[in-house]
């Protein structure tokens, strides 16, 4: 029925990408500027900047960079290293090479500094783009799609309009065997029992309750819940109130699994992504801004992101398109240029299903190549910081 509208670039692991991006990745902050210059001077919208700023090695950031550089939306990768940082650049390069993607590594200290590395990088990117231009997309079905959702700048309208409308869209995507991911257990504090009751096995339900408890403990130690001043100005009073609103993005499907950043859903269904680090708090806040959550959803294979906002956000992302769904009709009037969907009209009498259907259709047209608003405006935000995780337990992904 809708299959023909979506198309993707077939990768060696069988996944399909709805974009064919050249990723330029800095492997330490010291290589950030040169990488940014390569992206800017390439003058191409499909060359995206990603990277990790730290000098000390970290298992999480290496795995995240592996997942991101072999994401189905990425066609080729240029790695830019300063030369002395701890990041295991050879391991990353080999992982990308093994995925069948073109990959090049430039080491600034060996290339001879900023200008020489820039010129070499521009040459590499030009050749990579020429190679990607010869690839032909193939038809793609909904059961090959992974969609993530995140809310940012929530207010008192979010849980009434945009979030439940995304929930409807999720239900229809999952009916068609797509994989859908919702996240941020720290923003689901208070919903743990309801979520556990939706798990496909009792053992998964227990894992879900435990991971929300972990989040509550983590945030308590940090001294702040995941609750910004703007949330309060928009009418939200407590963390659990914000949670209930955020929770409605998940729709009404059973919860098929609990995953961590970088885990790709094994099949269609609804998945909860646990982004709160394991162990004692070490590296700071779990989600220092919305884009950190978006990057983790993308590392789990999300082809595109449904971003709901009440106060108004403008962000997009590197690698995967972000579709902006505005919950608040006043915010929509002020920021319509940035918003793909006006879900605030539900407050003025529109039906939830009608808005949910609009999002469902938009997912398919953006997956077919149409640009989302944030994409067209050039938003390619990206952030990746230190974290630490243990692998998920055996109960987290029950067999189908």
């Amino acid at each position: 029925m809708t299959e023909s509208r979506m198309k993707g670039f077939l990768r060696s692991d069988g996944r399909k990408g709805i974009r064919n991006v050249v990723a330029v990745a800095y492997l330490v902050e010291c290589a950030h500027h040169v990488s940014r210059l390569i992206v800017q001077k390439s003058g191409a919208d499909d060359v995206h900047l990603i990277g990790f700023p730290g000098c000390y090695p970290n298992k999480y950031s290496l795995e995240m960079m592996e997942r991101l550089c072999t994401h189905p939306n990425v066609g080729a990768v240029l790695l830019v290293s300063l030369g002395c940082e701890g990041f295991n650049r050879e391991h990353l390069r080999k992982t990308i090479l093994a995925s069948g993607r073109p990959v090049q590594l430039l080491v600034i200290q060996q290339s001879g500094g900023t200008t020489r590395t820039l010129n070499a990088g521009l040459d590499v990117v030009r050749k990579m783009r020429a190679e990607l231009a010869t690839q032909t997309p193939v038809p793609m079905a909904l059961n090959e799609l992974v969609v993530g959702t995140v809310c940012g700048g929530s207010d008192g309208t979010s849980g009434i309009t945009a979030n439940p409308a995304v929930g409807r869209c999720f239900d229809w995507l999952i009916e068609n065997d797509a994989a859908c991911i919702f996240e941020e257990t720290g923003e689901l504090i208070g919903c743990e029992r309801i979520m556990a009751s939706r798990a496909i096995t009792p053992a998964l339900g227990a894992e879900i309750e435990a991971c929300v408890e972990k989040a509550a403990n983590y945030y308590r130690i940090m001294g702040y819940g995941s609750f910004a001043p703007g949330n309060a100005e928009g009418g939200l009073t407590t963390l659990e109130e914000k949670s209930m609103g955020a929770y409605s993005k998940s729709g009404s499907s059973p919860i098929s699994g609990l995953i961590k950043p970088g885990d790709v859903p094994p099949r269609g269904g609804l998945y909860l992504l646990d982004v709160v680090p394991d162990g004692e708090p070490r590296f700071g806040f779990p989600n220092i801004s919305d884009n950190a959550e978006i990057v983790e959803l993308i590392a789990c294979g999300s082809h595109l992101i449904l971003f709901t906002t009440g106060r108004g956000s403008v962000v997009g992302s590197a690698i995967s398109p972000v579709i902006k769904i505005c919950a608040n009709p006043d915010t929509y009037d002020r920021m319509a240029d940035d918003m793909d969907v006006n879900a605030g009209r539900i407050l003025q009498g529109a039906e939830l299903d009608e808005v949910g259907r609009e999002i469902f259709e938009l997912v398919q047209s953006v997956a077919g190549g149409a640009l989302s608003k944030s994409e067209a405006l050039g938003h390619q935000e990206f952030i990746l910081t230190y974290k630490q995780f243990e692998p998920i337990g055996p109960a987290c992904l029950p067999a189908a």
Partner: protein, 113 residues
């Protein structure tokens, strides 16, 4: 949710779940405006902005507040029907909320402001 009155206007207050003891403003509501709460006329004691909450009935201190049919915290102090329910009178039962002025709310500011 979208049932309108005889003049085709949508009511300014939303009841999200029958168990709720708060209502949500569908639009900005002005001080002194007459609104209907459970069939009775109430004069708004203060302005309430779009997306904010007000009390569906009088609430005593420590009363659990319900929205979407789910508990979202407990009252710090008593409020009358129609009063704005927010940071100054409602507290989290999990982790205190923060604002730009006060940083993390501590148990010492329980009296509100």
């Amino acid at each position: 949710m979208s049932a309108s009155d005889a003049n085709g206007r949508l009511p300014p207050l939303l009841l999200l779940h029958p168990d709720d003891n708060i209502l949500v403003a569908r639009r900005d509501i002005t001080k002194g405006e007459r609104v209907e709460i459970d069939g009775e006329n109430v004069v708004m004691p203060a302005a309430v902005e779009l997306g904010h909450k007000l009390a569906r009935r009088a609430l005593e201190p420590d009363t659990r507040v319900f929205k979407y049919g789910a508990p979202i915290g407990s009252m710090r102090v008593a409020v009358a029907r129609g009063e704005h329910v927010h940071l100054h009178n409602l507290r989290s039962d999990y982790i205190p909320s923060t604002s730009r002025e006060m940083g993390p709310a501590s148990s010492t500011d329980e009296g509100g402001h």
